[in-house]
Symmetry: C2
Subunit: 760 residues, 2 copies
């Protein structure tokens, strides 16, 4: 097993390379871009959730002094695009609006106030079309159709049912027989709420058009290359005519993976020949950036009396809103959790409704699935009279098991995380009345996708590292640490370049726990390529064979004669007159092997029986990180994730008007994120079972911490006061109602779904 | 022989990729950089050319409201640096000033006017030291010593003589015997003047310090990596703590190859924590940017009656001013010109004087050498009664000859350039009185040095090209054309990235005809690497062996079955899920084989016997370009170079006070560059003998055009009116004086030099 002492850079704390810039306010965000002659952009939101635009009169707005251009849907090429599996939307509606707040016109004016005044002068006449807001209602025969032409959309393969955008399935074994053989069958329906990513920096961008017509987009984005491709699509321009400059990111968490409003200032800039800036209001952030929408989860298990789970059925309904932003794949990917279940039937529906569209947020949907699966595990435990910890340990995936996707589970630290939590939380433990303990087990995988890196040696022996990844939560610092470790040089000797799409090689988005594992592997391999080239050059100059040389501490030397060697600086100087020229190491990769990440979490809480309020007393998590590239960054990720999960468990709730689907609480005053005062100290345990792949054995870190709190806290509530709340958030009102025997009604007609599938 | 029809991109005219930005004023130069809180920097120039600074009182200046910092030499680390072979200078003098105008203090203030006012409030007390201004006088025993501690300087190898910074030699054969055997010996002394590079954009830069202490330098530079290294040296900082952003270049021609004034705003920015901008005045440009200083050339040849030159002796004295900016290597590299001369003794002295320091300008010194060598060729021709054209043809270097450096001359178009000029100028031709024709032959080599390139494929099949070369005179366009040709895609599909030292791989300076030949080769090889990777991926996806595939027109296809293939866009998409990941092709090289460049030029002129004024009637040049990457850019280079050469021949003359060496004419009102009205149409003939190396057979283009005009015009003056002017410029006054039998006295004690060497 790898230990910290093997490393010179890794497993040691390094402040973020961008820390000074961020804390002193010198970091440049998209909203900090000021260009000469720049115009301000404002958007006109639809007031209806399903309507035909009969007419739009922009004449008064256009006549306002200072207004430079107004665009509507018909100013864009007549092209449908999509960020998910279907091309189901126009960048701006041409005829029909599908949700309240959908932008139907954009104005560029000399200043924001003028642009806003102009927006308000646009007169729109609508003709309402029947709409549907609740996804379960939307699936019923006779419901209004959100996309009447759905079957003609590119990407739509076969008839899935009413308003169903996508239906995914995963099956193994003989599920019916297994249920018949089971000693006990446990059945539940869970519901989780709409969740906003809650990033601090509103989406902002500046579009500029070079005199040669090339579009430059300064953007707040997690995926500059993907943004470039989307812009090229909706504007019908070749990718090579667009440059995306990824500015500092003030939080993204999935919301900045895709095209949002960038096309509006882009087209306005092309129309006016002047730079155009758009900064979303917080209301627009809540409406246009694709938060997570409610998920309803039917889950049923067949269990033997010894605790062995033999069968699982799960039907998950993902509300995707007006457009399919992120797919419902977590419904099948995480329906069995971190357990070996030999027989399963998993179904995952994405259902259109006339409300804002769904987007990504930290491993979209997995937190919803984990709430259901891990609450359900406790239900099973109590049903068969087994300790919830023992039930989890009994069924936990082990090395050599087959994961839900069919991949063989490699060595991992799942059991160690469970054991660490048991020890740390002193589980099981008898508590006073109203106090409770709850467990949750979280599983995720290390993210893959296109990753590239280039390392060049500077003339003083320091290196420049170029990647296409946007920095999120200190990932640049981690990549620098990986390069430093692989090259045997200090962190300070690694320059991490700021990048844009013109300069850096193509790279996937920063998200889904992808950067350190996949991008980090590319950096590791580029460093190895660099070492190989340095060694070849040293061999040539020292007149010895390459295999007689070692590379360490920024120096290549003869193993048998350590004083004989050349420093990186000397090699950099030599390279300039060498046949091979300056040293550049590169690496590229696309897919990485399946590498799971497991975490165990436990909450200790107190419930106020008078108000239903939950007070968190302790929160403990243990996660298998493989190797900690930068322990302080790892703990930052773990703590940040748990806090997001606590918000999801207790207070966060993006709400929609049941009649027209409008966002009810589009502000931080009404959308309640946890404050420091709401939180206990988070206790972290790092488990280190090195990954078989990944840089130096590191696993992804970011996502799992956020999955556990809803179930761990819900399970603790049951432990404390004996009520099982199956709907999030676990608000005081909801817990109090449960204490009074009143539970939310979560209707779910699983028979109808089975019937439609022909299963019964 | 390669013909234009083989190419799809090359040999066709492409407007410069930066043309729109430049003509619309959108291109961003260093002076266009505005940062919040930015200060202005002004410099205090020394008023003496050799003096000890007894005291400097900055108290009044520091007390001026708005003044933020004042620095003097002792604020910099006590480190000598040098841009040439010797570490002979401080970035700002600590005790002793060596030329009039040398900056001895710098002020940062809220605005330029305040900074200038502060500069004028600094009180300096000097104690004069004996000085010397004329290099020939400086070499004489007993002359004042510019650098009394010269022998202690790092890089100074052995005693060279009084005030001699460097002495280079090149010898071949038995020179004394050859002179004894010769039928005729011809001996001359030539003198060329100080020449300013005459770029339009004054040197400008903005220094910024990030909160973490990292220095960012926005600079007008031909060599961002070299500037970074120099700044690191004089500021005693690691290279990795400095980032140089190369801004658009408004002309450089060699003056922006090296550290100039950038360290002053850099230190001021570090002292104040605020960005500091320095824009040189035109007077500072003439004083601090290292122009060329006068060159004196003793040249003697032994010739047989049939015209065969059997011996050559040349002693060249380069005035290097106060510091050795550029070495005197052209004195030995170009003492025999484009001719086969079996016996030679070439000596080249760099001599210190108390005036501004020498820098680089378009193949520094070669134009001076060409003036001497090609004037001397005409002198020989007339001496032995041979046509100057025939003499040149008779002695011209041929393939297989050995060049002065010892390299074997590869195939080339020298003879073709001579023949083309003969035909075009209808040589020999009898002209009316006062009219004359003159020839000159120019030789240079294609520049080498560290070159790197990286090409990545975008998702639509276009490519991004990343190099570390600053764009000079359209070189980005040429590099794009090379990439396009090698990849089989249109020019529009190549994005050339703007670069800085953080991002691009280490690359040599843009200068010395280096970019297209060496950097272009790196781009060509990177494109080949890209094609190889695309082919490997296509082979994998199509299930055929790599050697069954061809790559053409942005597509890899099966040679036996053309419709079966994949476009670059399809391959880019495939790469994202491939084992190898996104496609990046790279290449690096340092040295390229010797590839000569030859040009023949001819002038037709008329001399006004009453005023001595020369009127240029025709100017014809033929140059072997190998292959024209972008013919309109090649002709732009040829025409621009000839115009610079005409300025050197007729009007340009940077003059120095004979007593204190101060620049006498530091402005475009007194330093006379040719205007359009002074010029005939330049007639260009492109000869295409492909180089054995170089991208697609291309040779360097930029430098030779500027070498020929002084000799071609001087030879035409002799043809027209029978006077031989051996000193530049060929001003009306000087020609008129010659017509009256008065010639400049150019004293040259060659005996003393031979004696010092022990030759006689």
């Amino acid at each position: 097993m790898t230990t910290a002492t093997q490393f010179k850079v890794l497993e040691q704390n390094h402040p973020r390379v961008d820390a000074h810039d961020k804390v002193t306010g010198r970091a440049t965000y998209a909203s900090d871009v000021y260009l000469p002659g720049m115009l301000a952009c404002k958007l006109l939101p639809s007031t209806r959730n399903h309507a035909r635009i009969v007419s739009m009169d922009t004449s008064q707005a256009a006549a306002l002094p200072g207004v430079r251009a107004i665009i509507t849907g018909s100013d864009f090429p007549d092209i449908r695009y999509g960020s998910g599996a279907l091309r189901d939307r126009y960048v701006m509606p041409r005829e029909v609006v599908n949700f309240v707040g959908e932008p139907i016109a954009a104005v560029a004016a000399d200043d924001e106030a003028t642009a806003q005044e102009a927006v308000e002068l646009i007169r729109v006449e609508y003709e309402d079309i029947p709409s549907v807001v609740n996804p379960l209602a939307a699936m019923v025969e006779g419901a209004a159709s959100v996309h009447p032409e759905l079957e003609s959309y590119e990407g739509y393969g076969f008839t899935l049912g009413h308003n169903v955008s996508t239906l995914l399935d995963a099956d193994r074994g003989d599920v019916e027989q297994a249920f018949r053989d089971a000693d006990v069958v446990v059945e539940d329906v869970y519901r989780s709420q709409g969740i906003n990513q809650g990033f601090l920096e509103p989406m902002a961008c500046v579009a500029d058009v070079e005199p040669n017509g090339r579009l430059v987009m300064y953007a707040s984005t997690q995926g500059p290359y993907q943004l470039r491709a989307s812009l090229a699509g909706v504007l019908e321009m070749p990718v090579s005519r667009i440059r995306v400059v990824a500015m500092e990111l003030g939080g993204g968490f999935g919301a900045k993976l895709r095209l949002a409003c960038e096309a509006f200032p882009a087209l306005l800039a092309m129309r006016t020949g002047r730079p155009v800036k758009l900064i979303n209001t917080r209301e627009e952030v809540f409406t246009l950036n694709g938060p997570r929408l409610p998920v309803t989860n039917y889950i049923r298990s067949g269990v033997m009396n010894d605790g062995t789970i033999v069968a699982r059925e799960a039907y998950t309904i993902f509300d995707v809103g007006a457009y399919l932003g992120a797919g419902p794949n977590s419904g099948i990917g995480h329906g069995i959790g971190a357990y070996r279940i030999p027989n399963f039937r998993l179904r995952s529906y994405g259902v259109y409704t006339n409300k804002i569209y769904v987007g990504s947020y930290r491993a979209s949907g997995v937190a919803d699935m984990t709430f259901a699966v891990e609450s359900h595990m406790d239900r099973i435990a109590h049903e068969i009279g087994m300790d919830p910890y023992d039930l989890r340990l009994h069924n936990a995936l082990r090395e050599g098991d087959v994961s839900v996707s069919g991949a063989v589970v490699p060595s991992n630290g799942l059991i160690e995380t469970l054991e660490a939590i048991k020890e740390k939380m002193e589980w099981p433990r008898q508590l006073e009345d109203g106090h409770g303990l709850g467990l949750a087990l979280c599983e995720w995988r290390s993210g893959s996708g296109p990753s590239t890196a280039a390392i060049s040696i500077n003339d003083d022996g320091t290196v420049s590292l170029l990647t296409g990844s946007t920095d999120i939560s200190g990932s640049d610092t981690s990549l620098a640490a990986i390069a430093a470790e692989a090259l045997g040089i200090p962190m300070e000797s690694v320059i991490v370049a700021k990048r844009d799409t013109d300069m850096a090689p193509y790279t996937g988005q920063s998200g889904g726990s992808r950067v350190v594992y996949s991008q980090g592997t590319a950096v590791h391999r580029a460093a190895q390529d660099t070492v190989q080239k340095l060694t070849a050059l040293a061999a040539e100059r020292l007149g010895v064979p390459e295999d007689a040389l070692a590379c360490e501490d920024g120096r290549v030397y003869v193993m048998d004669n350590e004083p004989q060697g050349l420093t990186f600086a000397q090699l950099a100087a030599a390279s300039i007159t060498s046949r091979g020229g300056p040293i550049i190491g590169t690496a590229a990769l696309s897919s990485m092997p399946y590498t799971p990440v497991f975490a165990a979490q436990a909450a200790e809480i107190k419930v106020d029986r008078g108000t239903g309020q939950i007070k968190l007393l302790r929160y403990v998590q243990a996660q298998d990180v493989g190797v900690a590239i930068n322990p302080m960054a790892v703990e930052g990720q773990l703590d940040g994730g748990v806090v997001q999960g606590i918000g999801r468990a207790l207070t966060e709730d993006q709400q929609f008007d049941p009649d027209n689907g409008a966002v009810r609480n589009p502000s931080f005053a009404s959308y309640l994120m946890p404050l420091a005062i709401d939180l206990p100290e988070i206790e972290d345990v790092l488990i280190r079972v090195p990954a078989e792949d990944g840089p130096f054995g590191a696993r992804a870190v970011a996502e799992p911490p956020g999955f556990g709190p809803p179930a761990a806290i819900a399970n603790a509530v049951y432990d404390a006061v004996g009520v099982r709340v199956k709907q999030l958030p676990l608000s005081g009102e909801r817990v109090l109602a449960a204490l009074n025997g009143e539970y939310d009604d979560i209707p779910f007609d699983v028979e109808a779904l089975r019937l439609a599938e022909g299963i019964i």
